[in-house]
Symmetry: C2
Subunit: 194 residues, 2 copies
């Protein structure tokens, strides 16, 4: 896991710092110290912080696509896929006070360099699109409630997950995150007919 090459090590640490402290609250010095090199060497790999931000968000986007694609290939129900998404996000809860990347960047959106903003929007839309298609499938198969547009369900899920990670980190109450997941599950799950 640890640093096949310096460039990757920088991106890994940058991701950790963004998710724990935010983009504007870490420095090249932090990266250099954490990796054991000098500031100037970090600039060799990413000339400006904007470049670094773009590279990071692009990587996040590609990883998300890859994760989602491999999940979609598995022959499991939409509900199991949704649960896999929840579990993926839940990993943040227990790790070093990190929140999800889109939550971290979303809150300081106006203070991000321009090109980072642009990459970020694409990243967001990709998650949104994937979630929507998953929910649509679930509706079509009759396991999810279908009196609501899947886009709207997706927006609720993404918003709540993002907010819940932030809330449970600050409050120190991890169960709040799980309570939210449970609520979201109930919300999309078609109630058993009686």
């Amino acid at each position: 896991m640890n640093a096949p090459d310096t460039r990757t090590a920088i991106l890994d640490l940058a991701e950790e710092l963004v998710r724990s402290r935010s983009f504007n609250a870490f420095s090249y010095q932090d990266l250099a110290d954490g990796i054991g090199i000098r500031k100037a060497s970090v600039h060799y790999h990413f000339q400006t912080k904007e470049d670094l931000g773009v590279a990071l968000v692009e990587r996040l986007r590609r990883q998300a696509v890859a994760w989602a694609s491999s999940l979609m290939e598995r022959n499991v129900s939409p509900l199991e896929k949704l649960d896999a998404y929840f579990e993926f996000q839940a990993e943040s809860v227990s790790s070093k006070g990190m929140i999800c990347p889109h939550g971290a960047l979303g809150a300081e959106y106006n203070a991000l360099p321009e090109r980072v903003q642009e990459s970020y929007i694409e990243f967001l839309e990709q998650i949104q699109t994937w979630l929507t298609s998953l929910l649509r499938k679930g509706q079509a198969q009759g396991v999810f409630v279908d009196n609501v547009p899947p886009e709207d369900q997706a927006a609720l899920i993404q918003s709540a997950i993002q907010g819940a990670l932030q809330l449970s980190r600050a409050s120190g109450k991890q169960q709040r995150f799980y309570a939210v997941v449970k609520g979201l599950r109930d919300h999309v799950l078609r109630p058993a007919e009686s």
Copy 2:
């Protein structure tokens, strides 16, 4: 509305900047420029940025309590009170790219000065407590679904509102916020018996 005194003007502008750019992405220079005074004068009112942060969050907390109290005194249904809360948050959506204060501060929680973190937690808990008691009343009156602890409903609502403001700002799609509110409403509202 505009500046009864300098101290208030500073707090007003600081709140706007926190909600649009985040706490660590504005400076005393920004405050001074926006108000038309000098940096040193800002330091006269709030010696350190930590002091300013604490004062701001304390004010937000008091305002939230006052707002909630006056709402609770009105003789309207729990649903109307919940809707009033949604409408209050919705004001952010249309104003200058601002998100709610707890969302802005929550995402950079680990990068906040210590005493600001502490004030922030109290602020959060107060909102949470108020929302919970409102939801409990709604359950007791039979207008909200009651197969879920009101604490959990409150966590979902607060998380989703906070996340939805961030999401709709970055995506530029205000309707995503309203879609989330609609979803939350459906989620707590007891379905009409058939």
